[in-house]
């Protein structure tokens, strides 16, 4: 493997006693630093790294069996990134050119990311393929990002370079495609690396935009530092003895900003497990927390659910999670049962439910918008379902026996940020009223890269960001009640309804505007994707074949099963402009199926 993997003989202030003797040659970076802690008091990422490099903390990478395989202290990261930056400089790119990197959980990704910043280039992370049989669709997805970003360079580790090369064929912007090892063989250009400025773009973050035209969120150094300061000072109250553990993918905002950049700007150590390894053996993440006495670890609710489901009783006795003081939860709607079940399962392993730290955010606001109070656990309110449906208003439950919905408190906006709730006409609503969640503040994106149309949809006058989420404010705290119908969240993954419909419309039997996709929830909160198709086929065999083909396509693209319903032409409801209304299509489906699940339907508003 590469030279980046430091076989550390570095001085350590603390030894860890858990290392089996066979791997004594590698030691993780310590928790206690030799350097005074600075909490994100920097104006750029590279300045933050120059400071962190003076200490002895850094990043540690563990394999599926929980063995440490690579150590990347901030000091080595700084040196390696600067050396790679000199090679990037040899490619003579215009300052601000985009660099695409397939982001597996590896030291190479982080080195390349920072090399780009030292060289004045704008990196962005691309996903790894995760679904069975997803080859073709994955390559399309990469191609979409390369085109949308007009990337000049693209990099991937050996495992993924074939996919990348396939995606890069016929690209007009790409000047160089290769692996980190190939980059290291390029000649060094002896140039002075220019310092970055706060107004420069720090990176792009692709969101779950459509496959054909993905959206790259543009984040400046200033917005990033503003958000990081809020997260580490107010959200997490980071201290010198903190240590993080993470399985979150580096290509998601929570993984990258929250668990790669936030630890670095506070000079604390992090222990990483690849997302795939967590998904297969979630216990490994908890073991890392327990062994290395980690204090800060984030997950989507789905990750907690996986732990609760897959960890055996016999595993619990070896775990001591009492060190875990901030169990951040975000990235999708939080259901109180998920947290209660997790706490119930892991309390015997020392997990303290006061560690639960619900928060709310999105890539368009760098990462975080609101945080609840750290160390105080999660709080929720029960609101009267009937009032919620009839008046779109959240009132706390007064009488026993009435139906209710329970929502988790996501806390207050970070300093310098404001959240407001508006109705369909953009009018500000009072406390307790349910509407669209808008955010204003210095962490908000500049826009979507090279996409004024989508930018205009998201950024309202006075730079209010329309988050696409639905919720209400209660005593100043934010509660999220749902998403608008254009995004379906299944097992923690955001899937755009439009993407599924576009897949369906690529079939010869289906015309455009004859497919409608949405999610329906069953009583325990599990979401199923439903795809309703207006279909003229009459032969039973042809109809069955179409259903199977659609299910297979959806699985290959998104890794989820879906229900396909074929209905006669003109069944799907349309808006006045002839567009399909997913909201109405969903209502129609629920009626046909007699699901009677008004409640989750009402928490969401109509189409955008």
């Amino acid at each position: 493997m590469s030279s980046t993997i430091a076989k550390l003989n570095a001085p350590l202030t603390q030894a860890f006693d858990f290392q089996p003797s066979s791997e004594l040659e590698l030691t993780p970076t310590p928790t206690r630093n030799t350097l005074a802690q600075q909490l994100a008091e920097f104006d750029t990422l590279t300045n933050a790294l120059e400071y962190a490099a003076q200490g002895i903390t850094g990043y540690n990478f563990y394999n599926a069996k929980g063995h440490l395989h690579s150590v990347l202290p901030y000091k080595s990261l700084r040196n390696n990134a600067r050396s790679l930056a000199q090679r990037l400089a040899g490619l003579n790119l215009v300052r601000g050119s985009r660099v695409a990197i397939i982001a597996d959980t590896s030291p190479e990704f982080i080195e390349l990311f920072f090399a780009c910043r030292y060289a004045g280039l704008v990196p962005f992370a691309m996903p790894v393929p995760v679904n069975l049989g997803s080859h073709g669709i994955y390559v399309q997805q990469l191609r979409g990002m390369l085109e949308s970003s007009q990337a000049s360079i693209a990099l991937a580790n050996l495992d993924y370079i074939n996919f990348l090369e396939e995606a890069a064929e016929k690209s007009i912007n790409l000047q160089w495609v290769g692996t980190p090892a190939q980059l290291k063989k390029l000649p060094v250009k002896e140039v002075m690396l220019q310092p970055n400025t706060p107004d420069e773009v720090a990176y792009l973050q692709f969101t779950s935009g459509s496959t054909r035209m993905p959206r790259g969120v543009v984040i400046t150094e200033r917005a990033l530092m503003c958000n990081l300061q809020g997260i580490v000072r107010n959200g997490l109250e980071i201290k010198p003895d903190d240590r993080s553990a993470s399985w979150l993918p580096f290509y998601h905002d929570m993984g990258l900003v929250g668990l790669v950049l936030a630890p670095m700007v506070t000079q604390i150590s992090v222990d990483y497990l690849a997302t795939r390894d967590f998904a297969i053996r979630p216990l490994q993440w908890l073991r890392l927390i327990s062994r290395n006495r980690c204090t800060v670890a984030f997950s989507q609710p789905f990750g907690l659910k996986l732990c609760t489901m897959r960890v055996r009783e016999s595993d619990l006795k070896d775990l001591d999670l009492s060190c875990w003081r901030a169990a951040g939860i975000g990235a999708e709607m939080i259901r109180p049962e998920t947290l209660r079940n997790f706490a119930e399962k892991f309390s015997s392993a020392g997990f303290n439910d006061n560690a639960f730290l619900p928060c709310y955010g999105l890539a368009e606001s760098t990462l975080a918008v609101t945080f609840s109070k750290v160390g105080k656990g999660f709080h929720s309110i029960q609101v009267d379902s009937k009032v919620l449906i009839d008046k779109r208003m959240a009132t706390s439950l007064r009488a026993e026996g009435r139906k209710y919905n329970e929502f988790v408190n996501c806390g207050r906006p970070l300093p310098g940020h404001t959240v407001k709730i508006v109705d369909e006409n953009g009018q500000r609503l009072g406390e307790n009223m349910v509407g669209s969640v808008l955010v204003q503040g210095a962490s908000i994106m500049t826009g979507y890269y090279n996409n004024p149309e989508e930018t205009q949809k998201a950024l309202k006058p006075d730079n209010w960001l329309d988050t696409g989420d639905i919720g209400f404010l209660y005593e100043g705290d934010l509660y999220i009640t749902g998403r608008r119908t254009d995004v379906i969240i299944v097992n923690g993954r955001n899937i755009r309804a439009q993407d599924i419909e576009e897949l369906a419309e690529q079939q010869p039997e289906i015309r455009s505007r004859e497919a409608s996709a949405f999610g329906v929830n069953d009583a325990d909160g599990t979401t199923t994707i439903v795809l309703v198709i207006e279909c003229r086929l009459t032969s039973a065999a042809e109809r069955l074949s179409l259903i199977k083909r659609l299910q297979q396509l959806v699985y290959m693209a998104f890794g989820v099963n879906c229900v396909v319903e074929l209905v006669p032409p003109h069944t799907l409801p349309r808006t006045s402009s002839g567009k399909l209304s997913r909201f109405a299509a969903r209502q129609g489906y629920i009626q046909r199926m007699n699901l009677g699940e008004q409640l989750s339907a009402v928490a969401e508003s109509g189409d955008r």
């Binding site: 599926a64 679904n131 069975l132 049989g133 997803s134 993924y160 053996r281």
Partner: protein, 84 residues
Amino acid sequence: MTDNDYEEIMQLLCDRLSSLASSEVTITSDTNIISELSIDSIKLLNLIMEIEDSFDISIPINALADVQTVHDLANLVSRIKSDQ
């Protein structure tokens, strides 16, 4: 790889898949895991864990992108096993 290996892997996959699949289907090497067996992502993770544990291998995530049928998966497993 030896034929025995392949047969053993195939046998294990067929057994596991038929217990995971929600419908009554006969599983052969040509069965398409995606379209013919309705296996959700959590069941799939379980299956991969069982395969890894049974054969003491690690299946790289990039390789699954080219797996569609039971034969593809058995082939992948035996290739990884013989590379060890």
